[in-house]
Amino acid sequence: MSTPAVSLEVQLGRLRLANPIMVASGTFGYAREMAGLVDLARLGGILPKTITQEPRQGNPPPRTVETTAGLLNSIGLDNDGIEAFIERLLPYLAGLGPAIVVSIAGRTADEFTQMAARLDGLPGVAALELNISCPNVSGGVDFGVNPTSCCGVVEGVRRACSLPVLAKLTPNVTDIVSVAKAAADGGADAISLINTCLGMAVDWRHRKPRLGNVLGGLSGPAIKPIALRAVYQVARAVDIPLIGIGGIASIDDTMEFLVAGATAVQIGTASFYRPGVSIEILDALPDALTQLGATRVADVVGTLDVETK
């Protein structure tokens, strides 16, 4: 049931969204795939699959394997490169309505800034998300595990373009708070938490890894507690908005992330097994906010009570 008195708009630094329900990069193709299953225009934001400077073939199959309440993947940033994206995919995305947040991954800091400069000012690009956390390619994950390199990449991208910048961080670090602080210091508009958790699956009878690339990133309901923990810890340490990602598959999951400190969320793996889930969550959001006496999303963000028993 819709509650007209509730405003769903959210502000992520310089990026304004009509509502806080986004779909995560790498779990929604390039959106065109979902046109028959999801009312794309209603989403708060769409993150197409990560693009790289050059085309990438991706990793050999099997690229995914299901584990208990989760999905392990080693896709390997299979994509046709930034120029193919701009020429063939962006025009469609630009006409959809929601904020298009383009996820980019560079092998070097320079490549990140070159891609940011190339996308700057193109119609339809609302913001960038820096994928400095993909566990499946060498050269990407390194930026997100070190505060200094993370800060440097974000700074470089900020200088190279006028777009709002989201930094997507990996949970595969000793101290995610220090990396998040570095992203904020570098000028990120918001921080996306979290990318997948590095994991593996083994077929002991054949003494073989189940993934073609041996190691992969775990997503789905299994990692939700890890993502919630990251949002909670980072929310207490930085002043910029956070985007919760990790196992979100229902309105309850969404509200947990908002209360823990996220201003918006991204729906990821759940779209694989419930294609229309993002709109189901959006439909349920006004009522859930009303249950907490909120009239706007910001009223509940980071309101977790850890003091009183």
């Binding site: 193709g29 995914t64 694989f272 294609p275």
Partner: protein, 291 residues
């Protein structure tokens, strides 16, 4: 071939929702047929397309499973109202599915994938290994002019003859043979242990079937284990008969958004790239597949 990032067979006609199991019966060893009430899928599906089925509300197993549509149920009053899916119990999801009684609910989305193209063939030769037979009944019914599928019903050139070369490990794994015979199909069996039909690989049945129809326009379609499809593709090439294969790759979503289900597919220049089986397939020209 389209580029990697677009496909004419996105899930634009797909329906998603909760379906009711009308019937769930064992057909052969480890092999079951589940009948689902889902008019939206039944009216839209064409031969060779698949559906994703998932246990409602379950986080373990978490994902849906891609399964070919075996047949469409229709009656005069309601038109097409349901689908049959024939499945082999291989793991946790299909194991649980086999235990579900009539009246149980399943989540479903589909129809998905390109299906078999309606190409002309006077003699259509279907080659299946094991559970790979499931997409072929509808194709045979359509080619023989007994049924039409899709919304609007698609037009397809008719065949004079349909031969079904069906191989299995042993007699007790053979499922649905009488369905094909009832549809007017010439069924030829092969088993690994000789317990039914020829004591040989199913691929050894292809050449005799092809030779039987003389100078006719022929076409081979194949579905089964990868080694068997590779052997069929080689045999088709040797015999000079066009061949399509329906690939079975592990899928997480079935709708083109995860990039898991890739196969190595050649383009016009002969180079290969990973392509999504769910939205660019599952049916490919055999010569385009790098096995």
């Amino acid at each position: 071939m389209t580029d990697k990032q677009s496909s004419p067979t996105y899930a634009d006609q797909a329906w998603q929702g909760v379906t009711t199991i009308v019937e769930n019966v064992q057909l052969a060893r480890d092999t079951y047929r589940v009948r689902l009430r889902c008019p939206e899928i039944a009216q839209a599906v064409v031969p060779g397309q698949f559906v994703m089925l998932r246990l409602p509300g379950s986080n373990d197993p978490l994902l849906g499973r891609p399964l070919a549509v075996y047949d469409v149920l229709a009656d005069k009053a309601d038109g097409a109202w349901g689908i049959d899916v024939v499945y082999l119990v291989v793991g946790q999801m299909t194991g649980r599915l086999a235990g579900l009684a009539a009246g149980s609910l399943l989540e479903a989305w589909g129809p998905l994938g390109n299906g078999f193209p309606p190409l002309p063939a006077e003699h259509l030769i279907l080659v299946a290994g094991g559970i790979g037979q499931t997409p072929f009944l509808m194709l045979a019914e359509e080619a023989l002019g007994r049924r039409r599928f899709g919304n609007p019903p698609r037009k397809t050139p008719l065949a004079d003859r349909v031969t079904f070369c069906y191989g299995a490990r042993s007699k007790d794994y053979l499922a649905g043979v009488e369905d094909f015979q009832r549809a007017g199909v010439d069924v030829r069996l092969a088993t690994d242990d000789g317990s039914a039909g020829h004591h040989s690989l199913v691929t050894e049945l292809i050449a005799p079937a092809v030779e039987q129809s003389g100078p006719a326009v022929r076409r081979i379609v194949c579905c089964g284990p990868e080694a068997m499809m590779e052997a069929t593709a080689a045999e088709a090439r040797r015999l000079g008969v066009p061949c399509q294969v329906s690939l079975e790759t592990p899928m997480a979503c079935g709708i083109g958004i995860c990039f898991s289900c890739v196969a190595r597919i050649r383009d016009a220049s002969g180079n290969w790239d990973y392509r999504r089986t769910c939205v660019e397939g599952p049916v490919f020209d055999a010569d385009d597949v790098v096995f």
